[in-house]
């Protein structure tokens, strides 16, 4: 292939909806394909990929590759990596892009090892200004932006959720569907899954939520989080927290937002009783609109916020919630 191919790995939810972060990765891939005058390709893997493959044709993609196999029904490192690297050997992409998800945290470094190439994780910006494709990511708790080149091919990149605008669906289908059938070596799975346990603790998942209501040490206890839960439900938002409430057991550990937890970038982030430690800021600073409610006017969170109230949350939040209820009714 003369034109360089840019390949986006597309993940989908159990109900076969393409993950928002995959459409964001696809948008980043499209930027690169345009800059390099290359082709835009996608790769889907699963036990049944027909619906997703068909759906992807509405995103202006040149080629939609799919790998279908019963062993790909859920993520398993060896099966996914051998399929993916087989696909890369066939397609010969210049860049491979995917969303930064719990799956790709495991998959991307393995793929880099398998293809003996370089990987930049958690990319937030792509820079073509020097003629070379460069990938930028936040380092040192978000205090520094580091820009990297990848000296080997394919360049592998994962993109941070919400860092790129998702590619929009079009009315007309285009592109070729191509089924790949790389050999999957299922004989050697060194760490087989013994059981899967589903703990549905949150109605709205943090990583995909467009609105997040989050509480900090200032909530004072689990009762405070019960109030925030009401606010979150009203807004269709996910419930989050800074680290201390998770450590203190006021809320389940997976609610943690920050460098040691989930990194989120929702359209609306409401921080209540959160002082704004560097570690927390690193997990939410790229949210579109940030609202802070804190009794301490000096709290660091106000430096990040677009809107703020200096008040005790016990007094401000119920009135805020009641007013929202009227407005959203």
């Amino acid at each position: 292939m003369d034109e360089p191919a840019i390949l986006a790995f597309i993940e989908f939810s159990p109900d076969r909806a393409i993950l928002p972060v995959s459409l964001e990765a696809l948008s980043a891939a499209k930027q690169i394909a345009s800059a390099l005058q290359g082709t835009l390709a996608t790769l889907v893997m699963g036990a049944d990929t027909a619906e997703t493959t068909q759906d992807l044709k509405f995103y202006g993609v040149d080629a939609v590759y799919s790998i279908e196999h019963p062993l790909l029904a859920s993520y398993q490192p060896e099966c996914f990596v051998s399929s993916f690297s087989g696909a890369c050997k066939h397609i010969g992409p210049k860049v491979v892009i995917m969303g930064n998800t719990l799956t790709t945290i495991d998959l991307a470094p393995r793929l880099a090892c398998s293809l003996d190439t370089g990987l930049v994780t958690d990319c937030v910006e792509i820079d073509f200004s020097s003629g070379e494709i460069l990938f930028a990511k936040p380092v040192f708790s978000g205090n520094v932006l580091a820009t990297f080149a990848i000296a080997s091919a394919p360049a592998i990149v994962t993109v941070r959720s919400r860092a790129f605008e998702p590619l929009q669906r079009m009315d007309i289908a285009s592109g070729d569907s191509i089924r790949l059938d790389p050999a999957i070596d299922a004989d050697f799975i060194p760490a087989p899954v013994v059981e899967r346990v589903i703990e549905v603790q949150e109605v709205v998942r943090l990583e995909t939520a467009n609105r997040v209501v989050s509480g900090g040490r200032g909530m004072g206890g689990p009762e405070g989080f019960a109030q925030l839960k009401e606010l979150a439900d009203l807004l269709g938002a996910a419930l989050g927290a800074s680290r201390p409430p998770c450590d203190l057991g006021w809320i389940f550990p997976k609610a943690q937002i920050g460098q040691t937890g989930e990194i989120v970038a929702p359209g609306l982030y409401i921080a209540v009783g959160i002082s704004g430690s560097t570690q927390h800021i690193a997990g939410m600073s790229t949210s579109k609109t940030i609202v802070a409610i804190n009794k301490d006017p000096q709290a660091n969170i106000f430096r990040m916020a677009d809107y703020g109230i200096v008040a005790k949350y016990e007094e401000a939040v119920p009135a805020f919630r009641d007013a929202l209820k009227e407005l959203l009714a």
């Binding site: 719990l102 470094p109 520094v144 820009t147 000296a151 760490a191 937890g261 560097t278 008040a311 009135a319």
Partner: protein, 270 residues
């Protein structure tokens, strides 16, 4: 190191500038393309503390397990690493060399050096944090496993030993899965693995007498770290979004709450 009685666990720990340091303490030296921390102390990377805690929980059950902390770098502070020994690690192994500057090595180079060091040891389990708290790449654990040709299990919130196998609870978006792997293996912990325990005064005193071994690159059989695949081109300060906060007032806090809702609607945020 392994004397044939207990299991030998290696925990890879990185020393990083305190991630909670104020923004202006991360000074960019553009000429050298380096971040030079000013006025903040080095600390153990938080994520590696999770890995050490996971090792200590195994040792709580298997008392004869030996835990070696392995760290590579230009210069590694014994004072910083003392925290790991106080918490219960048995010994510290440092690989120091001028060329082991973590700011100029990519993940694959760091993993190659760590794997060469690990190969010199008799080991059963290697524990690594999910990412380093400075560069956040999150790749080294898997890359060590590939170099050693042993299984890697990521996002471990719990690891227990069962005979010659490790059983890991691995974090999933909506729960967890239990995987079982033969030893030796590399396990990368998630932050749910737990915070590092707090040492007692006695433990802290005893830690000062625990063995500290320092190796050079020659001791691990390499002349230099391998070339980077990922090349740092530039460092910059991200745009700071400060001073833009619109404070919403009201005669009472309740009124401010109400005004906030109205303002968000007016600005089409909701």
């Amino acid at each position: 190191m392994k004397t044939g009685k207990g299991l030998h666990i290696i925990v890879c720990i990185k020393q990083v500038p305190d991630p909670e340091g104020p923004r202006d303490s991360f000074v960019i030296n553009s000429e050298a393309n380096r971040v030079e921390p000013r006025g903040i102390p080095p600390v153990l990377s938080l994520f590696d503390e999770n890995a050490l805690e996971a090792a200590l929980r195994i040792k709580d059950v298997h008392g004869d397990a030996q835990i070696t902390v392995l760290s590579i770098g230009k210069r590694i502070s014994n004072a910083v690493m003392l925290k790991a020994l106080s918490a219960g690690a048995d010994e510290l192994l440092k690989v120091e060399d001028e060329r082991l500057d973590p700011g100029s090595l990519d993940s694959s180079a760091i993993a190659a050096v760590l794997a060469c060091a690990i190969k010199q040891l008799d080991y059963d389990l290697v524990l690594v944090g999910r990412q380093a708290a400075d560069w956040n790449a999150g790749q080294v654990g898997i890359m060590i496993a590939y170099r050693l040709g042993i299984p890697a299990i990521t996002l471990a919130r719990k690891a227990i030993l069962d005979g010659e196998a490790v059983i890991v609870e691995r974090v999933l978006p909506d729960g967890y899965e239990v995987v079982r792997s033969a030893l030796p293996a590399v396990v990368m912990t998630s932050n749910e693995a737990g915070e590092l325990r707090y040492p007692s005064m006695i433990q802290r005193r005893e830690a000062k007498n625990k063995p500290v071994v320092t190796w050079g690159l020659g001791d691990i059989g390499i002349d230099a770290p391998p070339a980077n695949k990922v090349v740092l081109k530039r460092l910059s300060t991200p745009a700071i979004v400060t001073g833009a906060c619109t404070l919403i007032d009201g005669a009472t806090a309740a009124e401010a709450g109400r005004n906030l809702a109205l303002r968000l609607r007016q600005d089409k945020v909701i």
